[in-house]
């Protein structure tokens, strides 16, 4: 892991007196390598290393008896800073029904996460309503309806024969009539470069006025995370991020890239396929993973 690699760098210093610029450069090279292996975007790593260097040439490292540990501490602190210092809750205040819309690439976990969030909110005493607005993918509506049954949450019924904006509009009216306070809209997976489908998202936003637009991203995403997140954010504007499939061994560097480019908070992480596998995001656990 990074601590061991940095200790090895600084071990060669024992008895050579003060740390030099070159020692720091070696240490930074190890940090850079660790971050790239963790899937943090190349340019994000470059900026990050610049910030680390400024602190690393300061007295906290140069005059430390354990410079390796000091560098790890600085990297850890900067990661936490970048990942978002504290947990950021869903924005649910205001006129009901409050609308949450989930967006993202194909297969990232939107449908499963929609049901997870519904279950989460129900446990907190809210009255959620699930809306299957994916009319493209085979059996997508059946998938959400099955999950809503498992979550014990009401689901808007549709047969995929109307456009997603219509489904959203009617579902929100239904929720109002039923006295349900939170509408959770599952959308079809789409590419950030698909102009027509990004336009469809804008149209849905216009119709549904969501208070939260959550970008659902796979924790295993690689270098392209920056590109993808920026495009979704610029096209429709995201208010938060959900990082899924994080319970595997993906280092999760994509989180850093997405945070760096959108500055939006990571609200939840998906830690499994079951509906209770949703956790509120805390940055320090992910920081440790990214460092390896």
């Amino acid at each position: 892991n990074l601590q061991k690699r940095l200790d090895a760098v600084f071990k060669r210093l024992k008895g050579y007196g003060r740390l030099t610029e070159e020692n720091i450069q070696d240490a930074l090279r190890e940090v850079r390598l660790a971050l790239l292996e963790a899937d943090v975007n190349y340019k994000v790593v470059k900026d990050f290393i610049k910030r680390i260097k400024e602190r690393a040439v300061g007295s906290e490292v140069m005059e430390s008896l354990t410079p390796g540990q000091q560098v790890v501490k600085i990297v850890h602190d900067e990661l936490i800073e970048l990942l978002g210092r504290s947990a950021s809750p869903l924005s649910l205040a205001g006129r009901t029904p409050v609308v949450i819309m989930l967006i993202g690439l194909q297969g990232s976990g939107k449908t499963t996460t929609s049901a997870k969030i519904a279950r989460f909110l129900k446990k907190k005493g809210r009255r959620p309503y699930l809306v299957p607005a994916d009319v493209a993918r085979p059996a997508a509506i059946k998938q959400l309806m099955a999950l809503s049954g498992q979550a014990g949450v009401d689901c808007y019924e549709t047969e995929a024969k109307e456009p997603p904006q219509e489904i959203a509009r009617k579902a929100i009216m239904q929720a109002s009539l039923k006295g349900l306070d939170t509408v959770i809209i599952d959308t079809a997976g789409r590419l950030h470069i698909d102009e027509a489908l990004m336009g469809e998202l804008r149209a849905m936003k216009e119709t549904a006025s969501p208070q939260e637009i959550l970008f659902v991203a796979d924790a295993m995403t690689g270098q392209d995370a920056v590109n993808i997140a920026r495009s979704f954010d610029e096209a429709v504007g995201i208010t938060g991020i959900v990082l899924t499939k994080i319970e595997g061994d993906a280092r999760g560097g994509a989180a850093l890239s997405i945070r760096a480019v959108t500055q939006k908070p990571i609200k939840f992480i998906g830690v499994g396929e079951k509906l209770n596998d949703l956790e509120v995001f805390y940055p320090d656990r992910l920081a440790n993973r990214i460092l390896g």
Binding site: Q143, L147, M220, Q223, K245, A250
Partner: protein, 277 residues
């Protein structure tokens, strides 16, 4: 970035950035650069264009695994699909079956994902669209039992190719990998040479984790081929360079969209060209 430029540190750094941002592992990029430096010396390469060509041919050699094409015979030819969650296994089965039907082959679908909500329904929709029968049990059934029944049906019906769809699973989940091994064992008990193909589906937007996926899945159920999906996005899928170099598994197809026609045979040359575009 290549034309008329002299080969200096700045150019080499730009090349490193290009390859790393394409998701090729840093260790693999290091190896590529070591080979490149030898090439530069051996052939006295002095301009950007020649350098680019040398670089391309090094990477091409890594991904162009020498393997005969998939025969899709003898019947019933059993093809087991595996991979982590959401990569495109089910959709890719539909695409492969579509190609085989157009070649006059008679496929069969086996719905061995009995766990995920509406997974069976999803495969049923594709079966209906392609006019391909689907062997399935109820939600929650034993995936191996479904696979067994699928092989039985394939033999009885004289089907040419059998696609066994499995649930997405993270390679780190021991019990799920054991389940996959069991599906394979059950298939093997039924037909000795089966599964004739075990195809690992990888998502081109994944980064270094795809290497772990390839290693672990290959360990559990020897992978005969890789299918790289979602290359219609902006990710380059460069991790397959590392995977091919290390595991020598042929990349067979690429997924380039969500429709049944959106599958193409893997072209090493086009793939390497795309890395540099």
């Amino acid at each position: 970035i290549f034309r008329k430029r002299k080969i200096d540190d700045e150019l080499l750094e730009e090349l490193e950035e290009l390859l790393v941002t394409g998701d090729i592992s840093v260790s693999c990029v290091t190896e590529i650069f070591e080979r490149l430096k030898k090439e530069i010396k051996r052939n006295a390469i002095s301009d950007g264009d020649a350098l680019k060509e040398a670089l391309k041919s090094i990477i091409l050699e890594m991904v162009d695994i020498d393997a005969p094409p998939i025969p899709w015979a003898p019947s019933p030819y059993i093809c087991l699909m595996a991979g982590v969650n959401g990569v495109g296994k089910t959709t890719t089965i539909a695409k492969l079956a579509n190609i085989l039907k157009s070649q006059g082959k008679n496929p069969l679908f086996v719905a061995s994902d009995t766990f995920r909500a509406a997974a069976i329904d999803q495969l049923l929709v594709w079966g209906k669209r392609l006019n391909i029968p689907v062997i399935h049990h109820q939600q929650g059934a034993d995936p191996s039992a479904v696979a067994y029944d699928g092989i039985e049906a394939a033999i009885k019906r004289g089907v040419d190719v059998v696609f066994v769809d499995t649930a997405g699973r993270l390679h780190t989940k021991v019990n799920l990998m054991e389940e996959l091994k069991k599906i394979r064992r059950v298939i093997k008990k039924h037909i000795e040479d089966a599964p004739h193909e075990t195809l690992l589906v990888l998502d081109a937007t994944n980064g270094q984790n795809a290497l772990n996926q390839a290693r672990q899945f290959n360990e559990a159920t020897p992978i005969s081929g890789i299918i790289l999906t979602k290359l219609d996005g902006t990710a380059k899928g460069g991790i397959v360079v590392t995977i091919a170099n290390e595991l020598k598994i042929p990349i067979r197809y690429i997924g380039i969209g969500e429709k049944m026609d959106d599958l193409e045979p893997f072209s090493p040359k086009l793939f390497v060209d795309a890395l540099f575009s």
